[in-house]
Subunit: 274 residues, 2 copies
């Protein structure tokens, strides 16, 4: 084992903490890793904590006691989040994004890793503090968002399939009515994919009436699991509130108006910023 | 603007570089950000470079000249990668993972963000140096791997759909024969999802004869795009080499034998480690 200078130690500890969010790392681990006194490690952590908090990157929480250590909880400040969302809203308002049925083309945006990482960090900040065991989404477009969120929270992702061709042992399928198209559809999840009693954060890219998310909630009942929260990237405001199939959700952006003729749309920050 | 001490600067610069792989960051950007002399910034970068390389986290490359600066290229050393893959292989050999048709259940593993991040970093290391504009996969299970790879390379992801219900303007659909089931299937991609002449890295979770990946290659022809590389997490060795539909690919693990009766399987490191 080599003794490491403070400057190198700070670089290594920073990357180590960033790569392991929500893991308790004991001071002993660091002290042994760098052959340094715990008091030096504590000073290092104080420096890192100050920078992370000043930069709005999240919190470094110290846990006292024998099982103690430090936890990094990624976050994004509301100010930074709002700035980023405003740019995203302008991007979403481009006329060529308007699709038939009042939808917006946003697949290209959902394919940009750095944008997705930002959105995942916003969801992780919004739901920090809730007891969450797993992030769930339904294929396909919400998957990247679900992973980005789960990466910040350091928990697994479960993906519900839109058919019943699950070849992974016994599966639970339910029928649900897509709120906007009123058509009956099927979604399935392998029995072994989700533990009973799990606390599940549902993440999706777009929500109109919320039929698909309502379907996931109904599926959770079959697993005796609970909804820990619902987060959507863009909600459509082009729907009566009473048509919405549930009330408690967080949206990052809201599509308030689409004119199919002129291809003009209006996208504003979602209820997370209210 | 505040002047920042070296210790804080190292923490900030480390996280800044880690969050922006493959982006050229000019020394001026850092110098202005921290109100520090470029010579100090250069010293900081030398410290960070040394730690990153010592830890096998990747390279920090300096580009001289007016448009110069520094680029962080994430990587994972072969030694670290092999250690991790060996653990993954043992995990994959668990008898309860054997599925009908000689497949392995690995959805739970593909749902773990930290494992996926490791695999993505291995692919990024394997394909570093090739000219790649975009990462492509077909829904659903390979999506997380594609994102993890793309995040390291800082390029977008394009997801091919397994049906032709693409509602995103004009789309290109092709029929392909799944090598293992011999059934004809359809895959589609919206015309606007991929630029012509793009250099595409294809990533998928599992490959037997390679029919699905061959399908993606054929789809690329329709876009006048090129295959920059093919990476699969697990390849099945339970197939004659002449049945394989293409030759140039990188696998991280290889399923060499499955006994359906005893549920015994053998998984070894893939051709990346040869």
């Amino acid at each position: 084992m080599r003794k490491v200078k403070r400057s190198s130690r700070l670089v290594e500890m920073t990357q180590y903490l960033l790569s392991q969010p929500y893991a308790i790392i004991s001071l002993t681990t660091f002290a042994e890793r760098y052959q340094s006194a715990k008091s030096s490690i504590s000073e290092d952590l104080a420096i890192i904590k100050e920078v992370f908090e000043e930069q709005g990157l999240g919190q470094l929480q110290t846990i006292a006691g024998a099982a103690g250590g430090v936890i990094y909880m990624p976050a994004m400040s509301k100010t930074t989040a709002l700035e980023k969302i405003q740019t995203i809203c302008s991007e979403l308002e481009q006329p060529e994004r308007v699709l038939p049925g009042g939808y917006l083309y946003m697949t290209d945006m959902l394919g940009q890793p750095s944008l997705i990482a930002d959105l995942g960090r916003m969801f992780a900040t919004a739901f920090a503090g809730r007891k969450i065991d797993v992030v769930m989404t339904v294929e396909t477009k919400g998957i990247s968002l679900a992973y980005a969120t789960a990466a910040c929270l350091n928990i697994p992702v479960v993906i519900v399939r839109r058919d019943n061709k699950v070849t992974e042992g016994s599966a639970v399928s339910i029928n649900y009515v897509s709120g906007s198209t009123k058509r009956i559809q099927t979604m399935s999840l392998a029995r072994r994919a989700l533990k009973e009693q799990a606390n599940v954060l549902i993440i999706d890219d777009f929500m109109k009436a919320g039929g698909t998310i309502r379907g996931m909630m109904d599926l959770l009942l079959e697993f005796k699991a609970s909804v820990a929260g619902v987060g959507v990237f863009v909600e459509s405001g082009e729907i009566d509130q009473e048509e919405r199939l549930f009330e408690d959700y967080i949206s990052l952006a809201k599509l308030t108006a689409v004119d199919m003729k002129t291809k003009q749309s209006t996208v504003i920050p979602g209820n997370y910023f209210n």
